[in-house]
Symmetry: C2
């Protein structure tokens, strides 16, 4: 699903690791039968080989891709303790995500509870502190690694809160000086550039998702078709 | 915490991997200050080195111990796909656990909802099916491995449901022939034997935990003291 941050995790890793893959986007509201048959939880990302092997769950798929891809570009530390700590950082980012989603998936409701925003910022403090404690530009070193890619998709979407709800939920960059520098550096990374979507596109998806009608999953494809036919 | 199944995961792996460690049990209802200061989530297992390094979360601690312990006894597959699939099996066992806990942590309440029991059995079907599809005695092969140790602590406790609630929640062994064989084989494993507690002990802990008074975390230590003084 082109707008899914979990799927983006694995796309980023696939690209960073030089893995060749085909992307098949699915409608997650009205799931295709072949998709549910292939992977009963019906979630993305789902990795499929064509020989019957199927793997789901973004963190597990991403670790797997790191292991099978370009060995000269390891995304995880060779030090077991550092690797374990990074797994914990990636895993516990679910706290940030769940606070963010509590607002984002209810933004259209008249009585929107804004209190999860403060929780989200508090959980993010841990990542600012952790990055501050590391001497490198990225969590991983001088190139993005596992933690960087696992948390990035939500940084791409933080601005959405302000756009959808208003200035009260504007992302407070001054609270996170290191993460703000990190965001700029991430935007220069090739894998990030490959899958990046601007906030206007995320906004269009979100407004369609909660419009009350059918979600329009295909507007990017149609724009692409227009561009192609104009060539 | 001597009766915690999550802590048991890492104890099993530590023993299987021949790692030397000291166990410090903590009272999880009235947590010691030093414990919360060391690891703010205040959960077990918490791994501490003494040089300031601390690591939490049972699956991550267990994977870490597998990486640093006896290399001649790998608990995870060297095949990345098999390893990823096993991680998923260990991770998704949280579905079984959460259904089990819905009953177990409410067993003393007058209006106990028994419906999570059926969910639990349904989630367990996946593990029966998976084990059936493998040619080996254990998930891992001819010795227990990562999946085996990650799911075992709850198999040690399934009988508790029948004991605490009654025969309606008796574990239906006939529904899981392979897992039943597997349980017998696990009971012969040295690491399992080291940390195994019989159902009567788990029962005594559970009854104390929900007695309305202070939880008695120390009854095993007192029994040990009596035995020692009788020598």
């Amino acid at each position: 699903m082109r707008f899914c941050p979990y799927a983006e995790r694995s796309l980023l890793v696939g690209s960073a690791k030089g893995i060749k893959f085909e992307v098949v986007n699915v409608n997650l509201v009205d799931k295709p039968d072949w998709f549910v048959a292939m992977n009963p939880p019906g979630l993305v990302p789902t990795l499929e080989w064509g020989d019957g092997r199927v793997l789901g769950e973004s963190l597990i798929v991403s670790e797997y891709l790191d292991e099978i891809g370009d060995a000269s570009r390891p995304l995880q530390s060779s030090d077991p303790f550092q690797k374990a700590k990074d797994k914990l950082l990636a895993d516990k980012f679910s706290q940030v995500i769940s606070a963010l989603f509590k607002i984002m998936l209810n933004y259209h409701k008249p009585e929107l509870d804004l209190s999860p925003f403060d929780d989200m910022l508090r959980y993010l403090d841990r990542y600012e502190k952790e990055l501050k404690s590391r001497p490198s530009q990225f969590f991983n070193g001088d190139k993005p690694g596992y933690v960087d890619y696992m948390i990035w998709p939500w940084f791409e979407r933080f601005e959405l809160l302000g756009v959808l709800v208003g200035d009260k939920l504007k992302f407070p960059k001054t609270r996170y000086p290191r993460l703000t520098e990190w965001t700029s550096a991430m935007l220069e990374d090739d894998a990030v550039k490959t899958w990046y979507l601007p906030v206007e596109v995320h906004e269009q998806y979100m407004r369609s998702r909660f419009s009350g009608g059918a979600t329009d999953y295909d507007f990017l494809v149609r724009q692409q078709e227009v561009k192609t036919s104009n060539l």
